[in-house]
Amino acid sequence: MAESDKIIDEVVGSDYKYGFVTPIEEELAPRGLSEDTIRFISAKKQEPEWMLEWRLKAYRAWLQMKEPGWQNVRYPKIDFQDIIYYAAPKKKKEIKSLDDLDPEIRATYDKLGIPIQEQKILAGIAVDYVMDSESVFTTFREALREKGIIFCSISEAIREHEDLVRRYLGTVVPPRDNFYAALNSAVFSDGSFVYVPKGVRCPMELSTYFRINAENSGQFERTLIIADEGSYVSYLEGCTAPKRDENQLHAAVVELIALDNAEIKYSTVQNWYPGDKEGKGGIYNFVTKRGLCKGAYSKISWTQVETGSAITWKYPSCILKGDHSIGEFYSVAVTNNHQQADTGTKMIHIGKNTRSRIVSKGISAGRSQNSYRGLVQIHATAENAYNFSQCDSLLIGDKCGAHTFPYLEIKNNTGKVEHEATTSKIGEDLLFYCNQRGLSDEEAVSLIINGYCKEVFQHLPMEFMVEAQKLLSISLEGSVG
């Protein structure tokens, strides 16, 4: 085995350190999916009647839909009757302050390195903690409420801010959009809701931390973010799960809506359990994320760092409806061992003078497969639209694969589209050069990768940039050798 392969094996081979299980009592829905399951979830959440009807309609639509098979990933057929659709930590009493929170849950988040302590939390980030199907705590709510910003769990929003939810839910990702979106619409459990009122600049990063804990359960979270005219919000999402031998399904839907002159920045650091080195276990991350630049001069920016999951399959997209609106997508997707990723974005130009920018960095190691799939669509109405796409692939070792599937549909000849793509390899010359300066193989790989991803990392909020850099080194630990 060549030197570089050995290092790759070492760097990629490190253990997933978030793989523990929290010993709390959970309340579970009976295994399987039926209208009764949906009624059970809706009742648990004390939802209004219209919400239940909305879910049931989605469920009936889902029953008519077929599981898609066009993506470049392979997995055994999912038995949707073998999943538990609702799992929630049993509440001992109503949670009004941190002191009411189950110490085990608190300990879990401490162990994950994200302590639930309002006063100590990373320089002013408000966090919503979601474990399995329930939001367990949201910090900094009062401070945000003073500015009129609503940041709470979606379950709570359905009860307390019914008008907003009813007006926007499903407007960007309709329940019938796709198989998994329909499933999510039927059974979604929890997630975050954000509303930023007109002209308000959200003073802190809003963040949701998703944790799957229960066995055999799926997580179907739903996030809805609305930025009213002239407002700004930056939102972060982090995810982990325990190590388990079976695969677990995570089928989320995220909808963003930016009105006139509003800006939403959405960052994800995804670190679901990727399965073991032989490819056993891990999360199937089948997610629909879409933003609507509804108003003129609005802007939506997706930044994602994808290191976990056995299979990642998602395309955070922007519909550029408002004139002069801007969509951005910055992505780092790392696959190692037997991981598979088919990810990218869609930029749909409808309004005039709309602009979009795509920067995708794929890193494949081990025996993994990493695909970029992107669609740039310029409608007949989109005068002077502009897109720039850059798709780079980095290979570590010689058993992995990188694939690029760019699609362009241009129906207006004033549009301008630029596409650049590169493929490179961490070769022996590069490693030796670094070794000769005293860097170990791990240090060298970490440095090279961070350099390669710099353009994406610089779009992450500061605290998450550091986390992302570390995460990348860990995910690729043992990948060279």
Binding site: L430, F432, Q436, R437, G438, S440, C453
Partner: protein, 254 residues
């Protein structure tokens, strides 16, 4: 006095083919040795073997560095122990600035020595001081390493890195290749400023002209994998004037 480097009866093969054969050389602290010779005689193999490149297989012989068995050390450990190779073809690392690269390297060495890493201010101070040695501008150091650099810039960057890492044994592998006379002078001046009684140099070159600027204590002519002739700096001038053929003839006559 303990020698800096002692190579004894070294035979090195690449892909099963012996390139260096029964090669011996001793370098003491403070000395500058030049290795000259025609192409394909094993000059770069010597450099790569000393630096610890995997594909170079040591068939027999030993190398002692400061009295320790060098062949037991991995390439990165050799570097942290003070061996520096200025590459003939330095590689590009996109997105990694020379500053960040050197910060990682300097701190890796410090860690190895049991020292605390330098903080941002100390590091900047060190960098400014060393940048002056090789006439490198600050903006240059924040560019991605070697990406879009000219030949001269790459070599100057190598000497800058050498200055930063303060090695004991510096190996220059054809550092003069591809340099115009101005760049050559700047690089040579940098090297001369780094000369000290504790530091040794092994300068590998095809041409004599570099040795007009870096005056060696000893000149060795490498031929067919071993040293065919050794002498003082005047040997280099003779080679410049008469070429390598007479060495070859002497060798055959022996």
């Amino acid at each position: 006095m303990q020698s800096m480097l002692s190579i004894n009866h070294l035979t090195v093969a690449v892909n099963g083919k012996e390139i260096l054969r029964d090669f011996s050389l001793t370098i003491n602290p403070g000395e500058v040795h030049a290795i000259m010779g025609p192409n394909g005689t094993g000059k770069s193999t010597l450099a790569a073997t000393l630096a610890g490149r995997e594909e170079y297989e040591v068939v027999s012989g030993e190398i002692l560095y400061k009295g320790r068995n060098l062949l037991e050390m991995e390439a990165d450990e050799r570097a942290r122990e003070g061996i520096f190779l200025a590459f003939q073809y330095p590689v590009e690392i996109p997105g990694v600035s020379t500053t960040n690269f050197m910060k990682a390297a300097v701190n890796a060495k410090r860690k190895h020595q049991g020292l605390e890493p330098l903080d941002a201010r100390e590091f900047l101070k060190l960098m400014n001081e060393k940048a002056q040695l090789v006439d490198i501008k600050r903006e240059f150091l924040s560019r991605s390493i070697n990406e879009g650099f000219s030949g001269g810039e790459k070599k100057r960057n190598e000497i800058f890195q050498m200055a930063m890492l303060e090695p004991s044994l510096c190996i220059l592998d054809e550092t003069d290749s591809g340099l115009d006379i101005d760049a050559l002078r700047i690089v040579a001046n940098g090297v001369n400023r780094l000369r000290s009684p504790e530091r040794s140099f092994l300068v590998i070159t095809h041409y004599q002209r570099l040795l007009n600027y870096i005056i060696p204590d000893y000149v060795h002519v490498l031929f067919d994998g071993r040293i065919a002739k050794s002498g003082g700096k005047e040997l280099a001038l003779k080679l410049e004037a008469e070429g390598y053929d007479w060495v070859k003839e002497e060798l055959v006559a022996d």
